[in-house]
């Protein structure tokens, strides 16, 4: 992609990661990699966010938190699973308190491999997420337009019924 048409805002949640991927996510925002120059902002509010970065796998305690954050985000939204733990639970797969990758809780659009995922890989994942976001935006727009037409038809039909009665 030669240019970015949208500056996505990001929300980051640490599932049960070891911090390795979390500090790499933060490292993306700091001067060495500096994605903030493209307008990418790490926001704390799910309602402001376009892209949901999840590090670490889900467990019984945090599965509801992950779902809640996802549901609070406005559509269109993209989920990027950062690191091998978020993809498949990785080294902790056999731990008793691990349910599995993030896709056990919410639909995931982009998987970023690595333990810990490198900042370059995370940035690449977010850029991939952008094209998914664009597709989702288009389909959402069509869906909304169809809904509007349908709502209009319904209104018209109701009006005719009223007049008939």
């Amino acid at each position: 992609m030669s240019y970015v048409t949208k500056s996505p805002w990001i929300i980051h949640y640490d599932g049960s990661s070891c911090n390795g991927c979390d500090i790499e996510v933060l490292a993306c925002l700091t001067p060495m990699y500096d994605v903030e120059r493209f307008g990418v902002i790490n926001t704390g509010n799910p309602k402001h966010a376009d892209i949901f970065l999840v590090t670490g796998s889900v467990n019984a305690q945090n599965i509801s938190v992950v779902k809640q954050i996802y549901e609070q985000m406005p559509r269109p939204k993209v989920v990027v699973a950062v690191g091998i733990c978020a993809a498949s639970a990785g080294i902790f797969k056999e731990c008793y308190n691990i349910i599995g990758g993030v896709d056990k809780a919410i639909p995931v659009d982009v998987y970023v491999p690595g333990c810990a995922a490198r900042p370059e890989a995370i940035i690449d994942g977010v850029v991939k997420g952008l094209s998914v976001l664009e597709e989702k935006r288009k389909s959402l727009k069509e869906e909304l337009a169809a809904e509007t037409v349908k709502a209009g038809m319904d209104f018209k039909a109701e009006g005719e019924e009223r007049e008939g009665a």
Partner: protein, 359 residues
């Protein structure tokens, strides 16, 4: 008396990348009580000793935490080596010490940045993290990894650093020292920084003792406690005195960590001067069968590693107690009576590592 309100804090919140939940009981703007609840990142990795052979377990233990990962690996290796009475070559001890001290520098710089972010000084945050990248580059050159490097193994280390590279590291650190000095001046002298740190979150020496605070938290309240003094690794050859401050407030804790960064740079220079030539790992024969406790000074304080062998390739039990676990009571104490607006910063002053705590 005004009305009491309970404000939930976390688990997802902008201050810390990690999930921690606190119920803050508020009276007007003052925090009366803070009730922490943890368990969002619990994985249960201690139980994995039953499924992983003891040399493989190092990889799992290193992933307790991605910030002090090397120290965890070393602590585990020490406890297993003690269990099997393996003598580690001196060069390996020095190399481990160098990597551990580099980890301390990177961890403290990271913390300084997060602290600056917590009190709203974003450019200072960026500068701390910019400087920290230099350390990560050294890690990458010497081990291949930026945050988790799996270079420590039972019996020694996997990679050697040659003499020229060691000299180069010392040169880089000497240059870095000037940059860190500039940052330190801001933390020490800036009016607005001092305004946020001085006198905030006071922890007396008695309280620190009573609540079993460890690491920089204890040292900032004047307790001389540093596990590096117990004579492991190359520390006996690098005569040093732990950094102590008497203030007990957030400013003192910040000061301890900044001074420790400079101390670590000195320790690395000393270690490079005195490193002997020789083997970097000892052969490992047989299986662990006894019990052994190793204590390490992590960037956040004392960590404790217990291993119990079963005579087979699988350990019978492995237990890790981490510094944040010990510092949470002290954190709750400092939160009582503070302003609501200071809560994020006070949580940060213990340098919490939740994934260590919950494992």
């Amino acid at each position: 008396m005004s009305k009491r309100t309970v404000i939930p804090f976390g688990p997802q919140h902008p201050v810390l990348p990690e999930p921690v939940h606190l119920d803050l009981v508020i009276e007007d703007e003052k925090v009366v009580e803070a009730v922490p609840s943890i368990g969002f990142v619990h994985r249960g990795l201690e139980k994995l000793v039953e499924k992983r052979e003891f040399p493989e377990m190092v990889y799992v233990i290193e992933r307790i935490c991605g910030i002090c990962s090397f120290g965890h690996g070393w602590g585990y290796c020490r406890s297993v080596e003690g269990n099997m009475s393996i003598e580690i070559p001196d060069r390996a001890q020095f190399l481990r010490t160098i990597w551990h001290e580099l980890s301390r520098i990177h961890s403290h710089l990271m913390w300084l940045g997060l602290l600056a972010d917590a009190f709203g000084f974003e450019s200072l945050f960026m500068h701390c993290w910019r400087v920290r990248e230099t350390i990560l580059d050294i890690f990458e050159e010497t081990t291949g990894g930026r945050v988790i490097f799996s270079v420590c193994k039972v019996g020694g280390v996997r990679r050697d650093i040659d003499g020229e590279e060691l000299k180069r590291i010392v040169d880089i650190l000497a240059k870095l020292k000037d940059e860190i000095k500039k940052l330190a001046d801001v933390f020490f002298d800036d009016y607005s920084v001092r305004n946020r740190l001085c006198g905030v979150g006071y922890l007396s020496k008695e309280d620190a003792k009573e609540l079993c605070a460890v690491g920089p938290m204890a040292r900032a309240s004047g307790i001389r406690q540093d596990m590096r003094l117990d004579g492991h690794g190359a520390y006996p050859y690098l005569d040093f005195e732990p950094v102590l401050e008497e203030g007990g407030d957030s400013y003192a804790r910040c000061k301890v960590r900044i001074r420790e960064v400079f101390q670590s740079i000195e320790l690395i220079a000393k270690a490079v001067k005195r490193i002997p030539v020789g083997e970097i790992s000892a052969p490992v024969k047989g299986n662990p069968s006894g019990e052994f406790i190793a204590r390490m000074e992590q960037p956040r304080g004392e960590a404790y590693y217990y291993s119990k062998g079963s005579g087979s390739k699988f350990l019978a039990r492995m237990r890790v107690r981490t510094p944040t676990n010990m510092n949470i009571p002290a954190m709750v104490k400092t939160l009582q009576g503070c302003d609501l607006a200071d809560v994020p910063m006070l949580i940060l002053t213990i340098d919490p590592c939740i994934s260590c705590t919950e494992r």
